[in-house]
Symmetry: C2
Subunit: 124 residues, 2 copies
């Protein structure tokens, strides 16, 4: 496992554990967090740790898969609040020092399939 | 570039080019395509190529980023129909022969940010 593979895995395990010291130690001071769906951005480690610390609800999460190559990682994450489950797609960028300099989160929601492809598709 | 990195990049370039022969040649015969948001599944290369060939609209796409590690790749994809833009997160699995055996697509939609975090967040 490379340092970045380890850091990507720890990003999710420390977040789930609410271990804010260990979580913050993975982040560059000028980390940028973006959610393209809401066009929200958080700049800086302190604010970003606080955002997670304040995130409401009895949430927990687990990385189902982490793919790391060079300075980039992508994770498919299972996120629960109580019984509610949501998947998230998280993109991490590392700086030269191996710290996380950018986080980009996507939170896809269920939707109804459009008509016209029933001849090819099964539901599960 | 490894064979799988090349195959992951070609998956998107041949799809955008509607080069169905080259696109199909990247896929295992028993490829499984899943969209977890709609819980739709397509099984088999022939059906999956047909699904893409029949996909309505003047669409085009481009992989903004592809991360490949071992038998897995993740791509952040820009998708347009006319002027409408949507991002997609696509997860690819390769079989032993280097063919794509599983594709998992997420299509996150814009949404309004929940209240309560304005003290930490800027909009862009």
């Amino acid at each position: 496992m490379t340092d970045r593979e380890g850091a990507a895995a720890e990003y999710f395990s420390t977040l789930d554990a609410r271990d804010w010291a260990a979580f913050g130690a993975l982040l560059a001071e000028d980390v940028v967090y973006e959610m393209p769906q809401t066009r929200e951005r958080i700049v800086g480690r302190e604010r970003y740790v606080r955002f997670n610390r304040e995130y409401p609800g009895e949430w927990r999460l687990e990385a189902r898969r982490v793919v790391t190559e060079g300075r980039h990682a992508a994770a498919l994450v299972d996120f629960w609040i109580g019984e509610d489950h949501q998947a998230a797609c998280v993109w991490l960028d590392f700086d030269e020092a191996g710290l996380i300099i950018r986080v980009t989160d996507f939170w896809p929601e269920p939707y109804d399939p459009p008509p016209g492809r029933e001849h090819l598709v099964e539901r599960y």
